[in-house]
């Protein structure tokens, strides 16, 4: 992993036009991705994590969805300003995507081999022979046994885990610089999930691919991520290295996410659940959107959106609790206990 930034997203806002008005799905989001780095974006459904990546790929459903503001800087280009046609040069080539559901992201009427070859012939100008050879190599890379024979089969002849491998092979076909994986393992069993994560990590090591990994599973985040961004109601509320996020979380929403997942060692009477439901982004609340569900909310949370407070060089959190004038608030006991336990392991592992 190097310090070279490959993708820089600045103040991105994405909205959707609906009959009831404008839904502000992503609100002023900034982050960057380094070369060979994995950034995990965590959040609940409706937090804007998928919409953010769709905006990066230029896949917002036009004309309903549009980039309202901000820049998506990649090399000398600003994706936010490119037309759909101009984006085709990058989409599927420099930027590839793996979707959640391997059952629906493959064409059921096309042979698997043909689907892998498609990108090779289109973006890399290979002829049929070359493309076929390369496709077999890619299928072997994602560890599909007997790849040559599998080329002539259809998706229904593959299991869920094998299909997801095919999807990864297609994504890798054009040697992408950035791989966007939207919940790639959510539909899979744990043992298969572990295999897919291993494959993705090996590929990253070999090709120095940058990965944006979207998930709601904090276990998976701990496994794959170098850095983590937590999203809530269209905003990044906390961002930092994976260790900072898990061992020194600062935002009450991050506390809530950590607390609502039992660890294997844990057995208390009650989980630390976040009460209530996320806000309606048709009318985002004034101030901090998380305030109504936040048991540590201050008066100012209902009036003014907290800025990103700096915790360390790499760690930022948008909560007024980090303001110098705020009362000293510690995470809830159950979360603090986990953090202490994890810290113990962390110290021991150093």
């Amino acid at each position: 992993m190097s310090n070279e930034t490959i993708l820089d997203v600045k103040n991105l806002s994405v909205s959707f036009k609906t009959p009831n008005g404008e839904v502000q799905a992503v609100r002023d989001v900034s982050f960057s991705v380094g070369k060979g780095e994995t950034l995990a974006i965590v959040g609940e459904s409706g937090s804007g994590k998928s919409v953010t990546t769709k905006a990066l790929m230029g896949l917002l459903p036009a004309p309903k969805g549009y980039i309202k503001n901000g820049n998506i800087l990649y090399g000398n280009e600003d994706f936010a300003k490119l037309s759909d046609k101009q984006m085709t040069k990058y989409r599927g080539k420099d930027f590839a995507m793996i979707f959640q559901d391997p059952m629906t992201s493959l064409n059921p009427t096309m042979k698997v081999g043909t689907q892998v070859m498609e990108g090779l012939r289109m973006h890399r100008g290979m002829n049929k022979e070359e493309a076929k050879k390369e496709a077999v190599r890619l299928l072997e890379l994602v560890r599909i046994p007997d790849a040559e024979a599998r080329m002539n089969q259809y998706p229904h002849q593959f299991s869920g885990g094998m299909r997801q491998r095919v999807v990864i092979a297609i994504a890798l076909a054009c040697d992408p610089k950035v791989l966007i994986a939207d919940e790639p393992t959510t539909a899979l069993d744990v043992t298969i999930q572990a295999q897919i994560l291993d494959i993705m990590k090996d590929i990253q090591e070999e090709f120095e691919t940058s990965i944006i990994f979207i998930t709601h599973d904090l276990g998976v985040v701990a496994n794959v991520a170098d850095r983590v961004a937590v999203m809530y109601a269209g905003k990044i509320v906390e961002i930092g290295s994976v260790d900072e996020l898990f061992y020194n979380p600062k935002h009450p929403y991050t506390w809530g996410l950590l607390g609502s997942m039992p660890t294997v060692d844990q057995r208390e009477e009650e989980l630390f659940a976040i009460p209530g439901t996320p806000p309606d982004l048709l009318h985002p609340p004034k101030g901090d959107a998380f305030a109504p569900r936040n048991r540590y909310a201050l008066k100012i949370d209902y009036e003014e959106q907290p800025p990103m407070f700096q915790v360390s060089d790499t760690h930022y959190a948008a909560t007024w609790l980090l303001h110098e004038n705020s009362p000293d608030v510690q995470p809830p006991a159950s979360v603090q206990q986990r953090i202490d336990e994890m810290n113990g392991k962390w110290e021991a592992g150093k």
Partner: protein, 310 residues
């Protein structure tokens, strides 16, 4: 948890015909008991037969062979309408998908009261309405929700409606088939907390079917691990996690990612290969240490007994 057996599953098999000659043995000779007041967790990967087991117990499927005894009476087999009604009142189910398990054309009050109507549990309309209000409040919704339709609710709220519907007939036993898999993490915790609270207050017994092992461990008293239609291990949840004996259980436990980066950097995954077992001997379900059962051959049994702390 008491010593009283609420449910005894004896040699339960559920085979499906998939062609003229081919048969899928979704559930193959299952034996276990569920005690009154406990939560029994059933885990396994997709296709291992855990949902089929749940559905056979509640008679959504007619079992191919075997018995399901509820308080000593067989649920399976020929039943008169009256007998069926009696069972249905005592056993209820909560489904995985809160979107497809509620009729979109019915109001919440009618969805919840359906069981009340069938079993004639309310004297008049007023009592019926009051009972639904009570149930809504029990599951953390409010009485204003009664006149609305399912599409007006979020996933977590719908799952609460599903729970209220199951509770309406005052059952003793509830089968929850992946009740939280479709929900967001923070909402999962809400629903699990609610289920635990209801268990204490209403003295319910649960069969909790899931693939999320950390949640199963948290909610269950005992856990059964299924693989290819058979139980391979059964123990208290504490024991199963601390001292897994069957190689499949070990492999499954080693595959769960923990929300702890340092742990993740050092985690070693164990692979399971069913061919590692001695193929010449048919494995049996044996008690290796007290209340800890494993599907194993006689030689494996001896080895495990030496390993197991007494």
């Amino acid at each position: 948890m008491s010593d009283e057996k609420l449910l005894e599953i004896k040699n339960l098999s559920q085979h499906f015909k998939t062609g003229r000659k081919s048969v899928v043995r979704a559930v193959d000779g299952l034996n276990f008991d569920i005690y009154k007041g406990e939560t029994f967790g059933l885990v396994g990967e997709s296709g291992c037969g855990k949902s089929t087991t749940g559905r056979s117990i509640i008679r959504l499927y007619e079992a191919t062979s075997g018995e399901v005894l509820f308080k000593g009476e067989n649920v399976q087999g020929k039943k008169s309408k009256k007998e069926l009604k009696k069972f249905n009142r005592q056993m209820q189910m909560i489904f995985q998908d809160p979107y497809s398990s509620l009729n979109p054309r019915m109001k919440v009050i009618d969805i919840i009261a359906e069981g009340i109507d069938i079993h004639g549990l309310a004297k008049d309309k007023e009592e019926r309405r009051q009972r639904v209000y009570e149930l809504l409040e029990t599951v953390g919704l409010s009485r204003e929700h009664a006149e609305r339709y399912p599409h007006e609710f979020s996933g977590g709220q719908r799952q609460r409606i599903g729970i209220a519907r199951a509770l309406a007939v005052k059952p003793e036993f509830i089968i929850a088939d992946e009740p939280i898999s479709a929900l967001d993490v923070s909402i999962q915790a809400q629903v699990v907390n609610l289920m635990k609270k209801l268990q204490r207050e209403e003295e319910l017994t649960y069969l909790f079917i899931a693939h999320d092992l950390s949640m199963v461990k948290y909610i269950s008293d005992r856990i059964g691990v299924m693989y290819f239609g058979r139980l391979v291990e059964l123990a208290s949840s504490e024991e199963l996690y601390k001292n897994p004996l069957h190689p499949y259980t070990k492999s499954l436990l080693s595959a769960i990612p923990q929300p702890d980066p340092v742990h993740e950097r050092t985690r070693r995954r164990l692979a399971y290969n069913p061919e590692d077992h001695d193929q010449s001997e048919e494995p049996e379900f044996r008690e290796v240490s007290k209340d800890h059962y494993v599907l194993c051959t006689s030689q494996e049994f001896e080895e495990m007994q030496q390993q197991a702390p007494v």
